[in-house]
Each structure stands twice: as C-alpha cells, then as structure tokens.
C-alpha cells in the first residue's frame, strides 16, 4: 500500500498536467476540424432558393395529365413544367447553355416532344407528368448553311422539318416520331419566290414576292403531296403595294398571318381570306384559339395611357366576345405576347379561359378571361447581371435618439425637455406594440428598418433585360421593381452613393449602363429602399462612357459624387458642384480585346475636372500579341485590413504588402510554343507599376478570380493535364516594415517590389463562380466560395489555398498552423453551403458584410437565386441557436442551493465538534 502511494504521489501533479494537455489537444483539434456545416434543423432558416426558367419561348397547356400544368421551353434552354394553379416549377430540365441546348420545338400531346440543338439536332420524347425521358434520337442535316432558318413542327404523328433555301427551293423532310426513320426521302419544292420576309403558319409557308408595284402574295402547303401554290396579287388584299408579313403567337389553331400589321389573313380551303377582325395596335400579339365551338382571335397589347389590353373576336363574324375583356387596369405588362391559351366551357356554358402572357420584361403571367392575374413569375431574375446589398435606414425612434446626441449646443433645459420628449415617444411606441394583437403581426412585418445586427438588408438586382428589383434579403420577397427598356446592361455598374446611415437623407443608389440603341451612357438614380427615382432620375448622356467611379469625399448632403470618364477623355461630375472635391483621384481603363490598360489622374483646375493620361501598359507584351483580358478584380472598396502582418512560428512577424490600389488582371493569349498562355498580372492602378506577375503555359483562363487583403487566387484550365487548377499568390513586404506603423500607404512613393509566395492546387471539379467572404472588420477568417458546375457552392478555407503550405512542415510551421501541402484540394460535402438544393448555372456569387463580425451574407445568381449567410470562423459573437438556457439555469440554481446548504451543514458540524 505504501508503494502505491509512492507511485501516486508524484503522479498526482503529472496527472493534472496530463489532463491539462489533453485539454489543449481538444482546443487544437477543434481548430483543425475546419469542416463546419449547418445542422439539419437549420434548413431554410437562414437561406432561401428561388428557381427560375428564363424567358418563355414556347408554352403549351398540358390538359391530358391529371395534374394540370403548363409545359414551357425557354430562351435559357430550360424545359420545365409549371403548376397551372400556382406557377411553381414541378419539374425542370436544364439543357446545355450553348447552342447545343437550344430548344427549337415543343410539342405537347399525349407525350411531350422537344427538338433541341443546332445541327446536329436531338429529338427527345418525355413523359409530361414526371419529366422522365422516354427516348431520344439524333438528326444531322447535310445542308449546314441554311440550318439556322429551319422550322419544325409535328403533324399527324410525324415530325416535319422544313428548310427554306431563299430564292431557290424548300426542303421538307418528315420523320417518324417514334423511331426517327425518315418517311420517304427529303422532298424539294421548287420555290424561287421565297425570301427572308416569309412567315410560317403551319403548314403553310407564305411570302410576298415580286417587283415593287406588282407584288404577289404566295403560299404553299409544304406537307401536302401535291404542290399547290396559292397565288394572289397583293393589291387584292390591301391597298398598298408594300407588304410585311408576321406570324401569329402562341400555337394558333388555324393557319393565319398578319399583313402589314393591320389585317389578319387566314388560309381556308387553299384560299386567302381577310378576316373582319380589327387589330387593336400595330404591335398587338395575336393568336387564334379554340373557343369551344368556333375559333376566336385573342389579342393583347399595351399602350401608355390605359396600360394592358385584352380582347377577343369571333373569327367568322368579327364580333367582340364580351367574356374575354380586360377590365382591370394593369400597367406593368410592357409589350405583352401571348404564349399560350386554353379555353373551356364551364358547366354554366360560360367561357373560361387561361391566357399565358410573356411581357417584354421577361415576366410571365397567367390570366383569366377578365384580365385577372392568377400568378406571375419574374423570369428576368434568371439573368442577373449586377447586385448590391443596401443597408436599411434606422427606425424613426433610433434616428431621434441619434440626433439628440448629435446636438451639442443648447441649454441644459432644452436637452432635458428633448430627453423627456423622446422618452415619451418610446413609451408610446411600447404601448402601441403591446396593444397590437398577435394576429396582425404578420401583415405589417417590415417597416423596413435596420435590425440590431444589421442582418436585414435590401438586395438591389439589375437584370439583363433592364428590369431592376429590390428584394428583401431575409425572405427573398420582391419589394419593388422598375423596368427600364432602354437600359443595355452590358458592363453595368452600381454604386451606393449614400447609405441610409445619414438621416434625414435617404439612401441613394446609381446604376450606370448603356442606352440600348445609341450605347451612350444611361444613368439611373434611385432610392434603393422604396424603388423611387431620385436625383438624376433617368439621365441619358450624349456620349459613351468609358469608366466611372464615385468620389471618396462626400458633399454636405453626405452624397458621393459620380465621376464619369467619357470616350473623349472628358470628365463629368454628378452633381456638378462637387467638382472641387476631386483630389487625388486615379482611374484606369482596360480594353478587353487588346489587353491594353491605361491610367488617368483626375485633377480639378478651378473650373473643371481634367483627366490626364499618366501610364499605359500592354499586358500581352505588345499590341499584336492577341492577348485578351478575361477577368479584372480590384479589392472591394469597403474592405478593411485587420492585421498588417502574420506572426510566424519563430516569433518574428511577416508583414503583408497591403496596397489598396492593386488590381489583378488575368489575360489569355496564344503562344508560339505553348499553344495558349494565361498571365496573371498585379498592377498598381495609380502608378502603373507591375507588382507581381505569373504565367501558366498550355492553359486557358477562366473568368474566376478572388482578390482580398494581400492574397489573390485565380482559376485556369490546364490543357496539358486536362484539369482545373487554382493558383494563389500572397504578397509580403518581408520581415521589416517598409513604412512606420500607422503611416498611410502611397502608391507613388513606394519603389520596392513585394515578395510573392505562389502555389497552385488542383481543383477536382469545374468551377463556375468564385468570391471571398466579406465581414465588417475583416477579423474573421477569409473563406473562398466556389460555385461548381455540379450545382454546389463549396466554402473553401483560405488555409487550404494558402501558398505557404509547406511540403514537409517544420515544427515552427506546424505551430503556426500551416497545413502540409497536398496537390488536390478537398471538396467535402460538409462544406457545401447550399446542401442538396442544387443550383443550376451559377454565374456569380456576391458577398456583403453584416453587422455581426462573424457573419457574411451571400447571394448566388445564375438560373436560380440562392441566399444564405456564412460564418467562416463560426459564430463566435452569437450564442448557438441550440443554447440550452434551461440547463444552465438549473445548474446555476442547483449550485447556489448546494453551496448554501453545505454552508449550513458545515456550521452545524462545527458546532457539534465544539460541544464535544
């Protein structure tokens, strides 16, 4: 027994030490275990997904299946089934985004048939109820030249392909839908009278031909065995001698066309017949639908005065059909187009119609006969081109408190009365909130004010078609929308020129784009919270814009001025009185196709702002190197730097090269020896100095790059090894600081080149978008978000991309936390932030900081929209949402109880001892 105690005695401290080290191990282990993901019960708590299909190209009602639906094929090469009642996507197939996925035909009968691609074509047959592919066959045309004019339709169970060869003949082939066997050979109809202006109204092909003055209108049924050309002088149908043909929209049931945007002509018994139906507008969209009994003409158009119109006429008599008439005043359907109609007679012998309307702003509406919108889909959001997160304004009460503390002047009594007043207001607000019954809470959910952690924001989205949306980030609900048909969104940029932090001024957001026709600058300024136009409103410039930016300084209304550099190197400032504020401004202009970059210095000479060319470089070496810029990334202007250096294992500090003006250019070009080369160049945009560069041979660049702090990453495809690689760089000043601590960095004063750490890693997937997380003070780790073609967004810690990862780490490096080098990056499923919600064709990821340092807001755009929030270093500033308040209360109460009871018992024992 004595021996045991001897052993135990010295071991007691040892055990404590051991336990302590175990504890450390646990801490370390938790650091290394970087794979973090959400819990299963958090699905949909912080994230939402919206699925879109794109602008509808073809639509047909499926009335055969039990679940009624609309089958649509879209410009985005998507085939989908929409629920007739709600408009939700029931199933969806996403085809190739290139021309190989282009849908040419949609035919719904018992089964669904599509023709997609562009020579070779693929004919597929689907089950409409489930969306399962039944069979497919491929078809190649010999005549490549005119393939783009080919037309497809289904007639009597045969797939008809018509290929007009203008000025010569029409080639018609018919295929058995089931087997793909060509039924007979391709027939050639001699028709020298066909031209580009012809219109197809199945199965007739109609043209206007002949010399001016004596024009003829000709039509031929291309599927009939006997070639019979219907021929009539144009002057018999219309008074004029000129003629323009237009086909009808939305699966017309009778062959017909519109002549000269005025007359509706049908082809009946191989004769042209001008109907008595009057067209409401020259741009009216017309279709002929089965009105259960007699065919009727349905037309829609919109004008500026009354908005949307919907009318129907009987084709035989030309009389109005009163049941179909838009009675409601709808203003927001610009240039409607009928995509499909379905009319049935109800039990009471009333006409019930469903009309599917696609507008110029890509929105899709399903209407009833009286113009009531059953549902609508904003398909413009399938093509988002620019995104900005905007803070919400503080509530009136908070604003009052802030202004109270802002006011320094005034007597003590004034301050006291103000205090009383605000407290009275607070009391009122409290009483009001108490009085409000529980049920009404849902209705007025958001008075759109900032929440405590600034997690509630507005996302402003600019779409390709020119529609601008304001979206609530927590729910994904659209708060406002604005359609600007003249906005060409190629290269559009958005600036928050005033945040909502400056009451009484409202937030101010400016969109700089191009005019659709003139490609001159188009500026749209709006209040991002309400969606109303402010300031410059919609301003159409008379010159093309080359580059734009906003000033750092604000004017007395806290507004950042907008600076535009136009094609003639003149500078425009909005508002103009802010011109004297221009100081130390530099701009660069990069030409995408020549890889030439020029720098400008902007100065104010007392009258106006002048742009002076200061530097110019050719990233491809010389001007005929045929290099082109694939991606340009500068640092986010709102980015902060938390620490200027890294502490190494040997207790020395490695200082980062932090240049706010550094821009990464990724270029690609041909090379005589190595086929293609990808060059990444870091250029100081103020001085034009190249800070670092890296070339990759036999590679093709992908437009994905990340630039934050002192670290850069870009993605390229390695042609030699046929794999995607991600190259990373980190720039360091070295172990000595170049500038004294706290001194401002100046691009013009620094002459030294930074040290560059480089590394490349294999990415075992095909990435489509990349972004880095963004937090308010950059205290939190940076993670890189990579969207993959599989439809997943993977959160990749920078630790894995770090170029300093050693092959065999020394103890010091291990202490620093560097992960040993491995050529392939792990893509664990735990790191997928959108879990099993697959996102198709993600093309951008946008991140924004929130008021919580740990949390970054993420929006991925593509065919779908996906919003979530990520916490790269875990939510260190929030209690976990499964925090057990109950347990901790019980434990605390029990401890207090135990301590007092033991105290009582101890004193009793002492007393007893004393009495002994």
């Amino acid at each position: 027994m004595g021996m045991l105690s001897i052993y135990l005695k010295p071991n007691f401290l040892g055990l404590l030490k051991f336990l302590n080290s175990v504890n450390w191990c646990i801490v370390l282990f938790s650091l290394i275990n970087l794979s973090e993901c959400i819990y299963e019960d958090q699905i949909g708590k912080f994230d939402w997904r919206q699925t879109y299909v794109g602008r509808v190209k073809f639509a047909q009602f499926d009335t055969v299946s039990t679940a009624k639906k609309i089958i649509v094929a879209t410009e985005e090469n998507v085939l989908a089934a929409l629920n007739l009642k709600t408009g939700q996507v029931m199933w969806r197939h996403v085809f190739e985004s290139a021309s190989t996925g282009n849908i040419q035909l949609l035919h719904v009968s018992e089964k669904l048939v599509t023709v997609s691609g562009s020579n070779p074509y693929l004919v597929r047959r689907w089950e409409p109820a489930t969306g399962v592919l039944l069979w497919e066959w491929s078809l190649t045309l010999q005549n490549e030249e005119y393939a783009e004019f080919s037309e497809w339709w289904v007639q009597n169970g045969l797939l008809v392909h018509m290929l007009p060869i203008f000025g010569s003949h029409i080639e018609v082939s018919m295929y058995n839908l089931m087997t793909g066997q060509n039924r007979g050979s391709t027939s050639k109809l001699p028709a020298i009278w066909i031209n580009e202006g012809c219109a197809l109204s199945v199965p007739y092909y109609t043209c206007i031909s002949g010399e001016a003055g004596s024009q003829q209108i000709l039509s031929v049924d291309v599927t009939s065995n006997s070639v019979q050309i219907i021929n009539k002088p144009l002057s018999d149908l219309v008074q004029t001698h000129e003629g323009i043909l237009r086909s009808l929209d939305g699966n017309s049931i009778i062959p017909a066309f519109i002549l000269n945007e005025k007359k509706l002509v049908i082809i009946k018994n191989n004769q042209f017949e001008v109907t008595k139906v009057a067209l409401g507008d020259t741009l009216a969209s017309v279709t002929i639908a089965d009105g259960t009994g007699e065919p009727m003409v349905i037309q829609t158009w919109s004008d500026s005065s009354k908005g949307f119109h919907l009318k129907a006429h009987s084709i035989a008599t030309g009389n109005d059909i009163p049941e179909i008439h838009c009675t409601e005043n709808i203003v927001n359907i610009p240039d409607p187009e009928i995509s499909g109609t379905m009319c049935t007679k109800s039990a009471k012998d009333q006409l019930v119609c469903r009309i599917l309307v696609t507008a110029a702003d890509d929105s899709l509406q399903l209407m009833q006969q009286e113009g009531k919108i059953l549902w609508s889909r904003e398909e413009a959001l399938a093509n988002v081109v620019a995104v900005e997160f905007v803070d919400l304004p503080v509530s009136d009460l908070d604003a009052a408190i802030e202004s109270e503390f802002d006011q320094k002047e005034g007597s003590i009594w004034a301050a006291f009365s103000r205090r009383l007043h605000t407290q009275y207001q607070q009391l009122q607000a409290l009483i009001q909130s108490l009085q409000r019954p529980e049920g009404t809470k849902e209705e007025d959910t958001s008075p759109l004010v900032r929440d405590y952690f600034n997690l509630h924001k507005i996302i402003v989205l600019v779409t390709d078609v020119g529609k601008i949306f304001g979206m609530d980030n927590l729910s994904g609900a659209i708060l406002w929308k604005l359609y600007e048909p003249n906005l060409d969104t190629e290269g559009v940029v958005m600036f928050t020129r005033r945040s909502a932090r400056h009451p009484p001024h409202d937030a101010y957001l400016t969109i700089v784009g191009k005019h659709e026709e003139t490609s001159n600058g188009l500026i749209i300024s709006l209040n991002p919270v309400r969606g109303t136009l402010v300031g410059e409103r919609i301003l159409h410039l008379d010159v093309q814009v080359m580059q734009c930016t906003i000033l750092h300084q604000t004017d007395n209304e806290k507004l950042h001025a907008l600076l535009l550099l136009d094609k003639y190197e003149n500078v425009q400032v909005f508002p103009q009185f802010s011109a004297p504020l221009v100081e130390n401004m530099f701009l660069y202009v990069a030409e995408k196709n020549t890889a030439k970059v020029q720098g400008y210095a902007l100065t104010y000479d007392g009258k106006e702002v002048i742009a002076q060319k200061t530097w110019s470089i050719n990233l491809g070496g010389d001007s005929n190197s045929r290099h082109r810029i694939v991606k340009v990334v500068a640092k986010s202007p709102s980015e902060r730097v938390h620490s200027h250096g890294k502490v190494l294992g040997d207790r020395s500090v490695l200082y980062k090269y932090i240049n706010p003006n550094l821009v990464l250019f990724v270029t690609e070009g041909p090379d005589p020896i190595h086929k293609d080369v990808v060059v990444a160049t870091c250029v100081d945009a103020v001085s034009g100095v190249v800070a670092a560069a890296q070339a990759h041979r036999r590679a093709r660049a992908l437009p994905l790059a990340v630039h934050t702090d002192n670290s850069l990453a870009y993605v390229y495809y390695n042609d030699k090894h046929r794999r995607t690689e991600i190259a990373t760089m980190e720039l360091y000043e070295g172990k000595q600081r170049w500038l004294a601590a706290g001194a401002a960095f100046s691009s013009l004063a620094s002459e030294r080149a930074p040290g560059v750490e480089r590394q490349a890693y294999i990415l075992p997937a095909a990435p489509t978008a990349a972004a880095s997380t963004d937090t308010e003070r950059s205290l939190t780790d940076k993670h890189v978000l990579l969207a993959l073609s599989t439809g997943a967004i993977v959160e990749m810690p920078w630790l894995y991309l770090e170029p300093r990862r050693p092959v065999t780490p020394s103890p010091e490096q291990r202490e620093e936390g560097l992960v040993p080098y491995a050529p392939e990056l792990p893509l664990p499923s735990e790191a997928v932030i959108n879990y099993n919600r697959t996102l198709h064709r993600i093309n951008s990821i946008y991140t924004a900081p929130s008021g919580l340092e740990s949390t970054s807001l993420v929006l991925a755009t593509g065919l779908d929209l996906f919003y979530t929030r990520v916490a790269p270093s875990k939510t260190f500033d929030l209690l976990k949402d499964d925090f057990d308040y109950y347990l901790i209360t019980v434990v605390l109460a029990a401890l207090i109880l135990a301590s007092y009871s033991t105290k009582y018992f101890a004193s009793r024992k002492m007393l007893k001892l004393a009495w002994k």
Partner: protein, 223 residues
C-alpha cells in the same frame, strides 16, 4: 455467384442495346455518343429519380438525361477526352474519364487528377453506381449523461476529488494520513465569502508543502 451472373446478363443486355442501335454510334460526321447505365441507390428506386439525376460531360458542356430504363446516352460529342459525372443532390457517384480517339474507339478509366497518365480501366458502356449518400449536415450533439461524465473537464474535477478523498481512506499508511491531514487542514472550510483567501492559501501553502514532502520522498528513496 448469382450476382456475377446477373452482371453478365446485364452486360449482354447493354451490348444488345448497342447492337440494336448502330446508327447512334457514329453519325458519320465525327460525332460520337457516350453511353452508360446508372444504378440508383435502393432507396430511390421507387420514385422518379431519373428527373433528379443528371449526366454532365466536362462540367456541363454536354448534358445527358436518364431514360426510364435508367440508361443514358450523351450524343454528338467529337473525339477527345471527357469527364463524365452523374449528379444527384443526395447521392455521390464516382466520375469516369472517357476517351474517344479519332477512329471512334472508346476507353473509360478512373479519373485521376494527380497522376494524369495512370490508367485504371473501367468497363464501357459506363456503369455508374451510387457510392454513398452525401453528408451535408452536422449532427446536433444531444445531452447524454455519459457524455457529461466523460467530458474531460468533469473528469478533471472528479478524478482529483476521488484521489484526495477516497484513496487515503483505503490505505492505512500513517504517512499518507499525515499528508491527508495536511491537505484537509489547508482545505478547511472557512466562511463562504472568503473564497479568495482560501484559494491563495491552498495554492501557495499547498505547493510548498507538497514540494517539501516530495523532496523528503526522494531522500528516502535514495536511502
């Protein structure tokens, strides 16, 4: 053995399929088709998993859809090297690299991004089997008594307590008793609020006492 026969049969079936559709192999313009069959996990076999599952060739450059008999054909592909992936939101499939040479010969092999020249052939037409289910979510830790007891912090608290309280009672060694007395003297319960004083006395006094005893031990040992 049964399984093997089934596989052979399946192979035959695929071969027959290919044979019946000779036009699909080569259309004559240097375009080829990649064929295969997807084996869904058993849980999915009843639903229409075909709609959820996609076949991507080179990350979506060419897309194939799965027919209701669970085969797929990706058509109109020029000769070259392609990575074929079967994608499902919940199940993982291993990608395969398919090489089609200019004569139309097919070779399927495992994807190896690191040693790109290494060839481990897999059968063609492709047979894609679901490997496992994706684990997207963390499991929430639940409060269990065993977890609590084996928590290192709890062990750290309880074990010393055991050592201090129970062990000396077990041994009748007078020396140990003396030690224990010393310890209990030090840890003598004062009034509740004077915790700090107690701690300081415990740490400073305890340490010196322990040091002296251990020294004494060492001396003893040497003797």
């Amino acid at each position: 053995m049964k399984c093997y026969i089934a596989l052979v049969l399946l192979n035959v079936f695929i071969n027959v399929l290919c044979a019946s559709n000779p036009i699909e192999e080569d259309i004559g313009n240097g375009r080829y088709a990649i064929e295969g069959r997807v084996f869904p996990p058993e849980e999915l076999e009843v639903g229409n998993w075909q709609v959820e599952t996609r076949v991507h060739v080179n990350g979506g450059e060419y897309i194939g859809f799965i027919r209701d008999d669970s085969t797929f054909v990706v058509r109109n592909i020029p000769s070259g090297s392609y990575v074929v992936e079967v994608l499902h939101p919940d199940y993982m499939y291993e990608p395969v690299r398919v090489e089609i040479n200019s004569k139309g010969k097919y070779r399927a092999r495992k994807v190896n991004y690191i040693q790109t020249s290494q060839v481990i052939q897999v059968p063609y037409p492709l047979r894609m089997k679901a490997l496992s289910k994706f684990r997207y979510f963390q499991v929430r830790e639940q409060w269990r008594l065993t977890d609590f007891l084996f928590n290192p912090m709890v062990i750290m608290m309880v074990l010393p307590l055991l050592l201090i309280m129970i062990l000396p009672k077990m041994m009748n060694d007078p020396e140990a008793k003396e030690d224990l007395k010393q310890i209990s003297n030090l840890a003598k319960m004062g009034e509740m609020p004077e915790m700090s004083e107690m701690f300081t006395s415990l740490f400073s006094g305890g340490a010196s006492a322990k040091a002296s005893t251990s020294k004494a031990k060492q001396v003893k040992k040497r003797q």
